[in-house]
């Protein structure tokens, strides 16, 4: 097979080709390693120099290369979470989810760029530079898993790991025209993920198609003695086969699909996809998530509050950057001044403020009650509907720099993804069409642990939509 044929394969197709003897795992790894090395999008922060000695090519994933978001700890490999404060940090251990995938036969080909500590929706908050969207290099890839999304969309990796706290897998997947799954909170261990907001953070796959998402996810789930919140999954994750949606009830929350700020082209692609779903046998009904308009407010209290606590560990003592000073507190404050970027400082300050004496009940306490309302409203909707569907993002990929001066405008990118995060429920984004020649994402969310249902529905829709993600790969594949 030539390189274009090789990178044209999904991960599942590459595995099948290896098993048939048509493709060699080492050849596959070398092809992607070279492409990652020649990356012109800023998608990678580290690329493997050679094939690892302990490649598990006999595992079910057959040695297929995997790009891993920078914030996953990988033993002996730089794990910097997009931050200057962790520049060059080499962890002593590997995150459980990555270790599981390596054991199943995935081979790390590189670490991918991200917003610093996963705080951002455009990947412009990385200390290691922005990532360019392979569909249009003047635009952002979304964030915070922007490097993972761009790498998969551009064919620099067959698939990638990301993390989603308020939309950080789904939104970049939407903006780059690929598939991104945020699993049910707790199904994948968080051990070894450099923490942002612990009650929300969840690892998941970014892939070219729904089958690959199921395949990667099935090897990530499980309990973990090192993470008491990792509960595993009650079902075996199946590779989706559904081609129809007969009898499936899809709920369209009016609060999320009639609001201002939703671009007309995105709404048009969303509505066309509803028609496609209807054609496959689904019924579409309106439903209501009354508190959804307040989800963003609750999220931007809870996530920064948890972040301000989690990021206290970066103090110049045990790892990372240290700014020398004569006394301990000046060393702390100077190290954190020099090491954190503007968005991280903003969120630490919001979180510290929201948790401070006199404000705790007004902010953090109330935000947690809003969280309860949102979880209850989803539960109520799921009594009538099997899945809730929305556009993934209110707009297509925006131009680099367009929103950096207005943090609040940037936060509004997460309006459609944050409600599911607060409720801890699974949601997937699949590409459903183009607006202004840029990809639009369609989000399907279900009750906790309904990944099999979501993957089946997404698979049937994906077949019917027939989205062509290849223009992106072709454009950046010119160097091969």
């Amino acid at each position: 097979m030539d390189v274009q044929e090789i990178i044209g394969l999904t991960a599942a197709q590459a595995i099948a080709a290896i098993e048939r003897g048509d493709l060699d795992a080492v050849e596959l790894f070398s092809a992607y390693r070279r492409r990652a090395e020649e990356d012109e999008l800023g998608a990678f922060t580290w690329v493997a120099e050679h094939l690892p000695a302990d490649m598990h090519a006999d595992g079910p994933l057959r040695g297929v290369p995997l790009a891993v978001k920078d914030l996953f700890c990988t033993a002996g490999i730089p794990s910097q979470s997009g931050s200057k404060i962790l520049e060059g940090y080499l962890p002593p251990y590997t995150a459980t989810s990555v270790a599981r995938l390596e054991h199943a036969g995935a081979t790390i080909v590189g670490k991918t760029n991200q917003d610093e500590f996963a705080m951002g929706s455009s990947n412009e908050n990385s200390a290691f530079g922005p990532v360019l969207n392979p569909w249009d290099r003047t635009r952002v890839p979304g964030g915070s898993s922007g490097g993972s999304a761009a790498a998969v969309a551009a064919g620099l990796a067959p698939w990638a790991l990301g993390t989603d706290t308020g939309g950080s897998i789904r939104q970049p997947a939407a903006l780059c025209g690929i598939v991104g799954l945020k699993p049910t909170y707790g199904t994948v261990s968080r051990y070894g993920m450099i923490a942002f907001a612990s009650s929300l953070d969840q690892a998941g796959p970014l892939t070219r198609d729904v089958t690959d998402a199921a395949l990667l996810y099935r090897h990530m789930v499980g309990t973990d003695p090192n993470d008491a919140t990792a509960v595993g999954h009650p079902e075996e994750i199946r590779l989706p086969t559904a081609e129809r949606l007969d009898g499936l009830r899809l709920g369209v929350p009016t609060e999320l699909t009639s609001g201002e700020g939703l671009e007309p082209g995105v709404l048009a692609a969303f509505e066309a996809t509803l028609e496609t779903a209807r054609g496959l046998g689904a019924t579409i009904e309106e439903c209501s998530l009354h508190s959804a308009p307040h989800a963003l407010s609750a999220y931007y209290v809870i996530a920064p509050a948890e972040a301000s606590s989690n990021l206290a560990r970066f103090d110049g003592v045990r790892y990372g950057l240290r700014r020398e000073a004569d006394d301990l507190v000046s060393m702390y404050t100077g190290t954190r001044h020099d090491g954190f970027g503007a968005e991280v400082k903003r969120r630490i300050l919001i979180g510290t403020y929201a948790l401070s004496s006199g404000y705790y009940d007004a902010y953090y306490g109330r935000a947690q009650r809003v969280r309860t309302l949102i979880a209850r409203e989803f539960a109520s909707v799921f009594e009538r509907c099997d899945l809730v569907v929305t556009p993934t993002s209110p707009g297509v990929a925006f131009e680099l720099g367009a929103k950096t001066a207005d943090p609040l405008a940037m936060y509004l990118n997460d309006s459609f993804t944050v409600p599911m995060s607060l409720a801890g429920i699974p949601a997937i984004s699949i590409p459903c069409g183009l607006s202004e020649d840029l990809p639009v994402g369609f989000q399907l969310a279900g009750p906790a642990f309904s990944e099999n249902r979501i993957l089946d529905a997404a698979h049937a829709l994906e077949r019917a939509i027939g989205f062509d993600g290849s223009p992106a790969r072709t454009r950046t594949g010119a160097t091969s």
């Binding site: 009650s199 301990l328 919001i350 109330r366 906790a448």
Partner: protein, 95 residues
Amino acid sequence: MLDRSEVLHVARLARLRLDDEEVDRMAGELSSILGHIAAIAALDLDDVPPTSHVVEVESALRADEPGPCLDRDVALAQAPAVQDGGFLVPSPQAG
């Protein structure tokens, strides 16, 4: 909503030094963000319990038996300064 002195107070709580220019910018940006967040103050939430965690987790305690842990050398390998097998930091006393 937040003035310079409040930003400096919160920054001190967070052990974060800010430049003068950063204090001014943060005061404006945080006020705008907190203004948006303030919408939740109007909701009637008296009868709604808070959610701190979405998944039912039972307390998982293992037997309290010593097991292997990181070697001291490995734990210290990434530290900016080390002395006598421990992390070296400046004195808590100024000057």
